[in-house]
């Protein structure tokens, strides 16, 4: 048996392609929902962490540190297998999205915070001196500048979230990886796994390249 028949078995790939595509669709759904939820959560956490009442800042900081310390797989398994014991039953999809966005929110919060803190003090002072309230200062002056700074690290975070969606396969979510392992079992051939790997790479490579491009562009703009 040669290497092509084992890893790149074209008939097997063709036969399992629809299965892989349905898995990719699930992966994309989990990824997009988690990324959006993580961005919203992260923005709120960052603002709380920077500007809320001191006790709220402490809570936000504890949350951020806790969720950055816990392994994602552990969190996911707790949500899916442990929470039902206290009556909280989430579907595999909701479990995966919850775990991913809770963790992504913590990372995103730190990215936003760094972005806001990178804005010179003079921008806050000029806004205040003009009589702009907190909301207008953030929405019109600070955040548009901060978001530009954080686009590369945020994109990096998105890449990580999409990669981590593969963990959803352990809670029986029929995502790309799960479909690939099932297809492998059905066809007794590992080609679907290779196919899944290629799909992940093909999907994420452009994002990785975009991050490098953005980082180079911003590095140049700084000089």
């Amino acid at each position: 048996m040669d290497i092509f028949d084992t890893f790149f078995n074209v008939p097997v790939l063709i036969r399992t392609f629809p299965l892989l595509m349905s898995g990719l669709w699930i992966t994309v759904q989990i990824g997009v929902v988690s990324i959006i939820a993580g961005l919203v959560l992260g923005m709120v956490l960052a603002l709380v962490r920077l500007y809320a009442a001191p006790w709220l800042q402490v809570i936000a900081k504890l949350y951020i540190n806790l969720l950055r310390s816990i392994p994602l797989l552990v969190l996911l398994i707790i949500i899916y297998y442990a929470l039902p014991f206290v009556g909280i039953r989430l579907s595999p999809f909701m479990s995966a999205v919850s775990a991913l966005s809770l963790v992504s929110g913590a990372y995103t919060a730190e990215i936003f915070r760094a972005g806001i803190e990178a804005i010179p003090k003079g921008q806050f002072e000029a806004s205040s001196a003009l009589g702009l309230g907190y909301r207008h200062m953030m929405v019109d002056v600070i955040l548009p500048q901060a978001i530009r700074i954080v686009i590369p690290p945020l994109t990096n975070n998105c890449i990580n979230v999409i990669k981590d969606t593969a963990l959803a396969s352990v809670v029986a979510m029929p995502d790309l990886l799960k479909q690939a392992t099932q297809a492998q079992a059905l066809s007794a051939n590992p080609s679907p796994l290779i196919g899944a790997a290629i799909i992940y790479v093909a999907f994420l490579w452009p994002l990785v390249a975009a991050v490098s491009r953005l980082e180079r562009r911003y590095a140049k703009a700084d000089h």
Partner: protein, 245 residues
């Protein structure tokens, strides 16, 4: 005659260091006051207290147009009436020159975009920047940026304009264009408080000069009194150092 700015007992501490020692200063409507003095004398801290960019001792009192400057609901209103021009311009780099000027009138004064644009273009013309309205601040020279910053502050129709060393960050050849704009502004009856090292400007434009040293007002008077007949030793030393070369 009522004072536009009334400063009573102004004290400012940075930790154990006292930056301002119980200052009193009244500034009348339409008056142009230049604040001079050595670095670290508290000049900038003084004018940054007037719009509460620097918090000050709770025993102190500042009134602008009769309204106390204090944290709370009124603060944004007071700040809207007090324009400020910074040493480092602090334009919003992500907005065009025109948008920089339009932003606060729209958000704070609730002007429509059409009204705000008309008013902003008029002000940009007044400071000689009308041709650059669509550019981003980063494309402008320092002198042009500072003139935009002046237009941005004027767009709020402030009762008072504060200038915090507006020409100190400029290349020498651009100082004149900014001072010219400030001179013409002084002629329009706006109350101005100018922290500056430009003694020529102070002498020519100020109604009153305040000399500060060590967090205190050492001497105050007309430009002639301060520059030609200073009463205090410290004023004479300072002027001797800055004027004799």
């Amino acid at each position: 005659m009522g004072s536009t700015i009334q400063i009573t007992n102004l004290r400012k501490q940075f930790g154990a260091f006292t930056a301002l020692h119980d200052l009193d200063l009244q500034i009348a409507e339409g008056e142009v006051v230049c604040v001079i003095g050595p670095s670290g004398s508290g000049k900038s801290t003084l004018i940054r207290c007037i719009n509460l960019l620097e918090p000050f001792d709770p025993q102190s009192k500042i009134l602008v147009g009769g309204v106390p400057v204090e944290a709370g609901r009124n603060l944004e209103k007071v700040r809207a009436d007090v324009g400020m021009v910074f040493q480092s311009f602090n334009l919003f780099p992500h907005l065009t020159v025109l948008r920089n000027v339009m932003l606060a009138p729209m958000r704070v004064r609730h002007l429509t975009p059409v009204q705000a644009e008309a008013r902003s273009r008029e002000l940009l013309a007044r400071v000689g920047i009308e041709g650059q309205a669509e550019k981003y601040p980063g494309k402008l020279s320092g002198g042009q940026q500072q003139r935009v910053a002046i237009a941005r502050a004027l767009a709020m129709d402030p009762k008072v304009m504060l200038f915090d060393e507006p020409t100190s960050a400029l290349d020498p050849e651009m100082v004149g264009e900014v001072l010219d704009v400030m001179k013409s502004l002084a002629g329009t009856g706006v109350t101005m408080v100018v922290v500056t090292h430009e003694m020529g400007f102070a002498r020519q434009v100020a109604d009153r000069v305040v000399f500060m040293d060590g967090g205190r007002i050492v001497e105050t008077g007309t430009p002639t009194q301060i520059f030609d007949h200073p009463q205090e030793e410290r004023t004479r030393n300072f002027l001797g150092a800055v004027l004799n070369h």
